[in-house]
Amino acid sequence: MPLIKPLYNFAFRLTFDEDDAHDLVQETYLKAYRFIDSYEKGTNAKAWLFRILKNSFINDYRKSSKQPGMVDYQEVESYYNSDEVDEPITSDLRVDAFKDMLGDEVANALNALDVDFRTIIILCDLEGFTYEEMAKILDIPIGTVRSRLHRARQLLKDKLREYAKTMGFKE
C-alpha cells in the first residue's frame, strides 16, 4: 500500500485526530475497492484516492463538526478579481527569517489556516499535484484552484510572518 502514507497524512492534517484519520483512510480504501470500476485507467491513482478521501471528509466529518471553518468563496474570488486588492506586501517577508524555522513551526502556520486553504497547500506544495489534478480532487474549476491557492499562500505568509516575528526576526 504505497499510497497509504500520503493519504494518512492528508487525513490527519484535515482532522487533527489520529482516530479520525485512521477511520477516514480505512473508509477511503474500502470505497476505492468497492468502486474500483470508476477509476479511469491511466489517470493518477493517487489523485483518485485523494478525491475519495476528501469527499468522505466532507460528507462524514465536516458537516457535523467544523461549520465555522467554511469559507465564502464568492467573497474570496471577488477579492482576488478586484482591482483594489490590498495585499499583504510579500517582499517584506525576508527569506532569511525562514532558514531556522522548525518543521513544527511551519506545520503550526499551516494548521492555523481554514481547512480549504490548508487543503490546497497540502495538495500543491506537499504532494505536488498539478492544477488539473487538484481541480479534479476538489471538484472545482482550475481558475478556482488558482485563486484559492493564491489566497492560501497570502494567508500562510501572514502566519509565517507572525511566527518569524515572535522568534525575533526583523522584518
Partner: protein, 93 residues
C-alpha cells in the same frame, strides 16, 4: 502600467505585492511547474530587471520549499494497515 500602479499606491497609500497581475499569475505558474516554456522564459527575463518581482519570487519559492521539506510525515499506524487488509481480504490491495 507601472506608473499607474505607482500612482495608485501614492493616492491610496497601498502597495501591491507584484508590479502587475500578469507577473503574479506567472510567478505561481512558474513555481508550480505549470507555466509553458514561453511563460517561464518571459517571467525569468522579467525578474532579471524587476527587483521587486525577484524578491517576491524568492519569498514564494522558499515558502513552498518550507512546506515541502520541513513538515514531517506522521508514521502510519500498523494497526491501520492490518485493519484494511483484514477488511478487503489478503492479497487484494
Amino acid at each position: 502600467m507601472k506608473s499607474l500602479i505607482a500612482f495608485f499606491q501614492k493616492i491610496t497609500g497601498k502597495k501591491k505585492a507584484y508590479c502587475c497581475n500578469d507577473c503574479l499569475c506567472n510567478l505561481y505558474m512558474v513555481l508550480d511547474g505549470e507555466a509553458s516554456p514561453e511563460q517561464q522564459e518571459k517571467f525569468m527575463k522579467h525578474i532579471d530587471t524587476c527587483s521587486h518581482c525577484f524578491e517576491c519570487y524568492k519569498v514564494d519559492r522558499s515558502v513552498k520549499e518550507l512546506i515541502k521539506y520541513k513538515i514531517q510525515n506522521m508514521e502510519v499506524p500498523s494497526s491501520l494497515i492490518e485493519s484494511i487488509k483484514n477488511k478487503i481480504g489478503p492479497g487484494k490491495c
